[in-house]
């Protein structure tokens, strides 16, 4: 056992932070921004960067749930469907008695959390593989969407929802503020509570976690419940940003959330990682997408450029640690 003197400890701390995956990913984001603003004049404009972060907020919030699930050794393929269900379903919960628009939001969040809990139930109690369970859930939700989508003429005239999607208190988009709060809570729960520690243990070795007394079933359900909640929240924000929900509004967030998690250094096998990496991971993804948009090239070349950029950035930051 080594007890080191304080000076050495703090210096190595700084070194550890600087060489950590989250930090590297942040550095790459900064690099891409700087390079891009030279390539395209308006890219680095404050308003544009702010908009990119606002977009990243949605991916980031979905990725928050995904990070929990992945660290605990699972994966959630139903996030896209849940985002859509939230965005399309919210108007259905509108009640005239509540002018603030809070009730439908709470109802939607409760619903998506419940959907997540059902995922967790299947994974924990039926022992269905997470991928199968959440894929099946996504399929169910498609069926649900046929029933609820387009069925009514209600629009999303919800003041709170459009506030979240459009307001800029103190010049900062509300979506970003929500993301900041979420990030803070997520990081605390993940790294500073026993619950978070249990997740890492479950992901790294479910058997060892079980034998150490970790309540596997309830923790699994909680994790998927959180993912459902986050997807629901993201659905509400995109609904606000786009003024209108539609089927397919959540589609981009499945691969994006997984990519943000993995780009941020969380192991897809579970047990290792941090949401601190998913945050820059999300920003990186929207940045590259925006960059590709302003490049004038045929769709084929743009797609190739996008893939090559991700691969190149992965080379900078993404070595997978050896396991087992």
């Amino acid at each position: 056992m080594s007890i080191r003197d304080a000076g050495f400890l703090s210096r190595s701390r700084i070194l550890a932070v600087v060489t950590s995956r989250p930090f590297l990913t942040f550095a790459i984001v900064a690099l891409v921004w700087i390079v891009a603003s030279f390539v395209s004049r308006g890219f680095g404009a404050y308003g544009h960067l702010r908009y990119l972060v606002e977009l990243a907020a949605v991916i980031g919030i979905v990725a928050a749930g995904q990070t929990f699930v992945v660290i605990a050794g699972g994966i959630d393929l139903s996030v896209a469907a849940i985002v859509t269900v939230a965005a399309v379903g919210l108007p259905l919960f509108a009640i005239d008695a509540d002018p603030t628009g809070l009730t439908p939001i709470l109802a939607v969040l409760a619903m998506t959390t419940a959907i997540g809990l059902v995922n967790g139930l299947g994974v924990a109690l039926l022992r269905v593989h997470p991928m199968i369970m959440t894929l099946a859930m996504a399929t169910f939700l498609q069926g649900l969407l046929i029933i609820i989508a387009g069925g009514s003429a209600v629009t999303a005239a919800n003041p709170l929802v459009s506030w979240v999607g459009n307001a800029r208190p103190f010049g900062v988009p509300a979506g970003i503020l929500v993301w900041v709060v979420i990030s803070f809570v997520v990081l605390v729960v993940m790294h500073a509570t026993p619950f978070g520690a249990r997740l890492f243990a479950m992901g790294a070795g479910p058997l060892a976690a079980k034998l150490s007394g970790v309540p596997i079933a309830s923790t699994t359900m909680a994790v998927y419940g959180i993912s459902g909640f986050m997807s629901g929240l993201a659905g509400i924000i995109v609904l606000g940003m786009n003024g209108q929900g539609y089927v397919g509004i959540g589609d981009p967030y499945l691969l994006a959330s997984i990519a943000a998690v993995v780009l941020g250094g969380t192991s897809i096998l579970g047990g290792l990682g941090t949401y601190a990496g998913s945050i820059p991971g999300a920003i990186l993804l929207v940045t590259i997408t925006a960059l590709i948009t302003v490049v004038n090239a045929s769709p084929g070349w743009r797609s190739i450029l996008f893939g090559t950029l991700i691969l190149a950035l992965l080379l900078l930051s993404g070595r997978e640690a050896a396991r087992r």
Partner: protein
Amino acid sequence: MSDASISPHARSGSLYWAIQARRNIGVRGLFVVVLAFMVAYGFLFHGLFTGSGFAKFTQSWFPLALVAMAQVILMLTGGISLAIGALVSLGAVIAATTMTGPLGVAGGTALVCLVGLGIGAATGVIVVRLRLPAIVVTLAGSFIIAGAALLVLPRPGGAMPPWLSDLLAGNTPAAFGVLVVVVLLWKLYLATPLGLSLYAAGENPVGAYRSGVPVDAARIAAYAISGLLCTGAGLFVAAQTGSGDPIIGNSFTLNSIAAAVLGGIGFLGGQGTMRGALAGSLLLSLMISVMFFLGFTPVAQYVAQGLIIIGAVAIPQFRMRAR
């Protein structure tokens, strides 16, 4: 936990078959489910037992079976690919743009195979040698490959020689025959040292390396073979549709994973069997036709599909636990 039903000492000559019998244990439940669906389908659609009915049915299963195999090979080594669909599309557009041109069928086939092997091997080298997470490498790869497919054929078009379409996807069960050959080749590959190394490289790479297994070579070979299967599936899809479409393969990515996981393939590598994954892909394909003949509305189709997928995994497990 020892299983009393297994004969105590298999004769040495039958070791291979004893091992094969052992491998069936985990997938018996799924086999039963698939068989039930097969029977239901035959009952609902009597034409299934005619030559062309069987041919058409196996044709719709065939590409999914190939991509499921492509995914399984990777998952056995602890890898995964999100570029399966894009590779199928690329194989299809290459086939549809070359085979009626100067390269001809032989040249076109060779090109399709080479591209699959080459891209697969390149992916393998990147993942294995640079130690990058397969899931993001192949996600990035899927954009690059999809872009390449769009460059070859910016919109659906191209053509396949009609005789080839009729041969592969006509009224004869040629596709089924090809599938049997592919499965036999897989068995053959598994019987080579490199094939068995797939399992070892996936489950206990350090131990395998120390035992003298060429772990990296086994994994790179797996990516190459996987790529070949994908573009091969693309060639078949082009033949089946008589033309090329640069986005035709998209849905194969998720379906290949679903088939594999349904078939009992694990993510950590070295878990599961190819026969399970093939059964999984067959179930996914059967399900579509059976639901049609049961007259399900789209909503019912979605709900039933979800239930079937979960049930196929959960029910065998419950039976195992109940015993």
